[in-house]
């Protein structure tokens, strides 16, 4: 839907780094593990929260479900 503000397990704030992650992994094609290391996401609880967040690519843009959901009245 939209990226959770915090990690479900430990409470680290993750939403603010997700935009950079999205760009680097889904558009630039960098390796997810390396990007997470550089963004300071160390624990595997936080890593799974980011990796398993569903996105899809449409018109060359990475979208989350909420980007579509808003279009329906």
């Amino acid at each position: 839907m939209i990226i959770p503000v915090r990690c479900f397990t430990c409470g680290k704030v993750l939403a603010s780094i997700f935009e950079e992650y999205k760009k680097r992994v889904y558009i630039d094609g960098e390796e997810a593990g390396k990007v997470l290391d550089e963004l300071g996401v160390k624990r595997y609880c936080c890593r799974r929260t980011i990796i398993s967040h569903p996105v899809f690519i449409k018109d060359g843009e990475v979208k989350e479900l909420i980007d579509e959901a808003g279009e329906y009245e």
């Binding site: 939209i2 990690c7 430990c10 680290k12 704030v13 939403a15 603010s16 997700f18 909420i66 808003g70």
Partner: protein, 261 residues
């Protein structure tokens, strides 16, 4: 008893406790999780919300945003002289008003005074399509981690015993099985001897002693020296969080002492 910061950043700390016991460090850990007060949004009045998310979800997301906490300026609302009605020394007001097409970020929350501006301005709260609107007012107050996780200052806090690796030189035949087995790569062969590079990196997994056929290597934890590491969400700095926790523990023990008089 000694405390040493092995690593100290704004929001991260690795602390070494010496001459201590696991029970004592655990009481500090539990105090840091449950008892340090912190500011978080508690009440949200929504005037207009035509976004894709329900009011409740937006209020929940707002609550999770870390706010700067100046503990010397704030009281708990229940203990405040205003008797819980809300006054500047217990309640901080924020307003937010945005119209699409845009993403609403935590930085769009406007406080009464710039000293309460949110720490992390890039948290997306909701995405608005064309003609969608979000107008709201929020009240933040102090709380502790044992009330709700949004008031928890630290995250990922944990400790381990100080690792001790003992190598029996007489039994060791330098087969290097332990060097390959170590997941942290802290063992190496130097001048016909197994040496440990950075002992604090050891995670006490015992892969090395399991891999040694001669039984020459032994790993144990020293319970009198403990390494604790934690992060904070930005509302307090890592150093302030530890100091605050120790202050709270002290206060609790002082109250207990009074009971005996």
């Amino acid at each position: 008893m000694k405390i040493k910061f092995l690593e100290l950043k704004e929001n991260y700390a690795k602390v070494l406790f010496e001459d201590t016991s696991p029970y004592f460090v655990n009481s500090i850990r539990r105090t840091m999780i449950a008892d340090i007060p912190k500011l978080a949004i508690e009440k949200v009045t929504i005037y207009d919300n035509t976004s894709a998310l329900f009011d409740e979800i937006i209020a929940h997301r707002l609550g999770l945003i870390p706010l700067p906490t100046h503990l010397d300026l704030l009281n708990f609302r229940k203990e405040c002289s205003c008797k819980g009605n809300g006054c500047p020394s217990c309640t901080i007001h924020y307003t937010l008003s945005k119209e699409g097409e845009c993403t609403v970020y935590s930085g769009d929350l406007r406080p009464e005074d710039s000293m309460w501006t949110v720490v992390d301005k890039n948290i997306p709260i909701v995405k608005l399509q064309k003609n969608q609107r979000l107008i709201l007012e929020a009240e933040a107050e102090l709380g502790t981690g044992n009330q709700h996780a949004k008031w928890q200052v630290v995250c990922g806090i944990g400790y381990k015993y100080y690792p001790v690796i003992e190598i029996d030189k007489e039994k060791c035949n330098l087969c290097s099985a332990c060097v390959d087995a170590c997941p942290r790569n802290i063992l190496e062969i130097k001048r016909n001897k197994i040496t440990v590079r950075n002992i604090e990196e050891c995670i006490l997994c015992k892969s090395c002693s399991d891999s040694c056929k001669k039984g020459a290597i032994n790993v144990r934890g020293d319970g009198s020296r403990i390494i604790m590491q934690y992060e904070t969400d930005g509302s307090l700095t890592a150093e302030k969080a530890l100091k605050e926790a120790l202050k709270i523990l002290q206060k609790k023990y002082d109250e207990l002492k009074k009971c005996f008089k």
